[in-house]
Amino acid sequence: MKGDKIMSLFTGAMRLHVDGRKDLTNHTELVKIAAGKKVYIPLVNMNSVKVDVLVNEGDHVYVGQKIAVRNDHFTVPLFSSVSGTVAGKEKRMHSCCKLMEHLVIENDGLYEKKFDMEPLDPETATVDELVTFMTNMGLVGCGGAGFPTYVKYKGVKGIHTLIINGVECEPYITADYRAIELHTDLLIKGTKTMKKMCGATKAVIAIKESKKELIEQVQNALKDVEGVELCAVPDVYPMGWERTLVYQVCNVRYEKLPSEVGIVVDNATTAIAFAKCLTTGEPIVDKYVTFSGEALNHPANVLVPVGVPVGDIIAELGGFNTEECYLIAGGPMMGRTIPMDKFVVHPYMNAVTVLKYEPTETLGCLRCGRCVDYCPSGLQPVRINTANKIKDVDMLEQLSVMSCIECGMCTYVCPSHIQVTEGIRKAKATFMAAPKKKGGKK
């Protein structure tokens, strides 16, 4: 429980070293998984299902061909990861634990490529051209959020620092580590381009100080690069969260978005994917995904085309070693448990964690305040839960319930094994459902 304890009088540590169990997959061999007879492209981006399908049943598609586009306040094209024939739509379980439309493509096994976009030289291209290119490439935040990247660069002003987030603070996940290790050159190319796009004077690549070999490798590669530096950050959770990282690197806090204080944050794999787009014109059609956890026979990082069901990948890796397990889309802190293994790899998925099922005993809350101590948002989870029990909406507002990011820290540290984070989700629902006061603060 100790570890990173900042001795501050009125605030807690707001972060904590978490056993990362990264050794399970850090040095295992990368496994390449081929697509099966069918792939399923989820017609969804973040929580939006307003997606226009651009192809019809029976159409022939190529690898990298635009097949659909998210069309609301954001524009995010979706691409085919194999070549073959469109076989219609299907409702399947998605990694957000809901049933979603998926476009089914029958794989012809030929992997013929045909890209919509030509490669672009970032040295000569203008910022506008680069932003348009980024939009058309459907580049999304690969850290797990899937937020369209171009939005951060479109018309930004007054940016002084670009932070490339290679922290990967979720336990078990090593996909970013592996991608940076294999594509250091692409990381630097992507970083330089993004720095140009946001007009920053400085770019910082943040990597956990515990990843010594990787730091050395990146540092060597950065020797002749100007304006890009490496920042080793403490091995604590949630170091990879935008606010915690910005505070660590630049020592500032902000209200809503880091651009308020002149900072843009992007994930390292996003930078790598972007550099790959620029070099070859190929959008995200395959992903490095960590399959890890104690309940897997052979945990490994895999390189897999988008749209392949997770169950098939686990079977290919050697299956489960228990009868009951938690199958988690993402890492164990923020990832959701999914009650079936039919969901597929999507462009912003980076991990699947499979943990052994262990029933726990819950005791009464002793109000020890550890959830307050370690909450990265500086909230009081224990009191939010109490306020929600009596449905005190005013108190929930005072306690800033909506500032919770559901990082899972409060449940993680709770000595009584109470599901504090889930309690806050319920409190948020209470707060959202309550009628807003007239003229009240929002």
């Binding site: 938690y326 448990t337 809350c365 307050v372 009081q380 899972g408 540290v413």
Partner: protein
């Protein structure tokens, strides 16, 4: 293959409430062990047996009360309930607050009150608003203050002496020295071989236990630090106004269960605020009440009631400290500084008032003497 659903996160630090409670029990047992040695060295085996009987009675009462509550009131599995209710800690703390010559039945009655009224009626472990042990002690001291076990040898305690004989003011250095020397000076008070409440005498051991418990994250270091620090400053101001030296604030720290209360009672997480800012204000407030009750109250001791009074203010402190913690640091600093300075000013004022009162008494006494002398002369 079965995929179990569970809301995230699905990962845990491995910390456990049982572990915290066991650590606390170990700390209390270390203090209890010293009390046994203290009684054996000072008064012999009779007192040791009585002490052990008190402790056994307290713990047994706590456990039986909770078993009965679970079986007949809650109608749940009694053993599991008792295991996760940690009533024995309340009982141990309560016994530690007793004088050694307290008879057994008040301990039993006080423990039942502490467990049932102090904790169970509020909803059990984690839901009580008062420190249950403190509530039980308050009942014992209110209703059984004269109940004493026969054949138990005891001598006057430092707090009863200084409050009874001196009203917490010993301005004359020679008298102060003589007063302290009967306990072996301040050093002797810290080591703890004298009579007082069972668990309160060895301040040094209590401090060591406090440090260990803070290091293992069982209690928060801020509470004992600010409580004892503020007691030191407040009593120093009061003592300085009345012309007492540095021994005075140290005496305040070493006696009357200040360190025991700081380590084991104020830190009770259930009944103190959850935010750090709240904990700091809570501790300073308790320190102020402790010193005030000691020097101006009619009670000999202030730790117990200061804890109960501050427990009542916890909901208010919590309300003031609501919101995103790092955004309000300025506000918290201001509240802390204002509370502290107000306390200092109050102690200064109380000191001046006491000084005037003493001067008046002295003048009256002198006048009386003068009158007597005149009368003698006239005769």
């Amino acid at each position: 293959m079965k995929f179990v659903f569970n809301p995230s996160p699905n990962y845990h630090s491995g910390s456990s409430t049982r572990e915290i409670m066991n650590e606390l029990s170990c700390g209390l047992l270390a203090v209890f062990a010293f009390s046994v040695v203290n009684q054996a060295v000072q008064h012999g085996i009779g007192n040791v047996i009585h002490l052990c009987v008190m402790m056994a009675a307290g713990v047994a009462t706590a456990i039986l009360t909770e078993l009965a509550w679970a079986k007949w009131v809650l109608k749940t599995e009694p053993v599991a309930y008792v295991k996760s209710s940690f009533g024995w800690i309340t009982a141990i703390i309560l016994v530690m607050m007793m004088p050694i010559n307290m008879s057994i039945y008040p301990v039993i009655v006080g423990t039942i009150f502490a467990i049932v009224i102090g904790k169970l009626v509020f909803g059990g472990f984690g839901s009580n608003i008062f420190n249950p042990a403190a509530a039980g002690c308050a009942v014992i001291f209110s209703y059984f203050s004269t109940s004493r076990a026969a054949d138990i040898v005891t001598s006057a305690t430092p707090t009863s002496l200084i409050s009874g004989s001196f009203g917490w003011v010993v301005s004359d250095p020679a008298v102060a020295n003589q007063f302290l020397s009967q306990f072996g000076g301040l050093g002797g008070l810290a080591v703890g071989f004298y009579d007082g409440s069972i668990g309160e005498t060895c301040a040094l051991l209590l401090l060591v236990v406090g440090v260990v418990l803070s290091v293992v994250d069982c209690i928060d270091w801020r509470i004992p630090t600010f409580y004892l620090g503020a007691i030191f400053v407040f009593s120093w101001i009061y003592g300085a106004v009345l012309g007492m030296g540095m021994w005075y604030p140290v005496f305040h720290l070493l006696t009357g269960g200040a360190v025991f209360g700081a380590v084991f009672m104020l830190t009770d997480p259930v009944t103190n605020p959850t935010t750090f800012a709240g904990k700091v204000v809570f501790s300073i407030g308790a320190a102020l009440l402790t010193v005030l009750i000691r020097v101006r109250g009619s009670l000999p001791e202030g730790v117990l009631y200061s804890i109960l009074l501050m427990n009542m203010l916890v909901p208010w402190i919590e309300r003031v400290c609501s919101g995103i913690q790092y955004k309000d640091i300025k506000k918290y600093t201001l509240i802390t500084v204002v509370t502290f300075l107000a306390g200092c000013a109050l102690m200064f004022g109380v000191g001046i008032a006491k000084k005037n009162q003493l001067a008046e008494t002295a003048v009256t006494a002198n006048n009386n003497i003068a009158v007597v002398e005149t009368m003698t002369v006239t005769e």
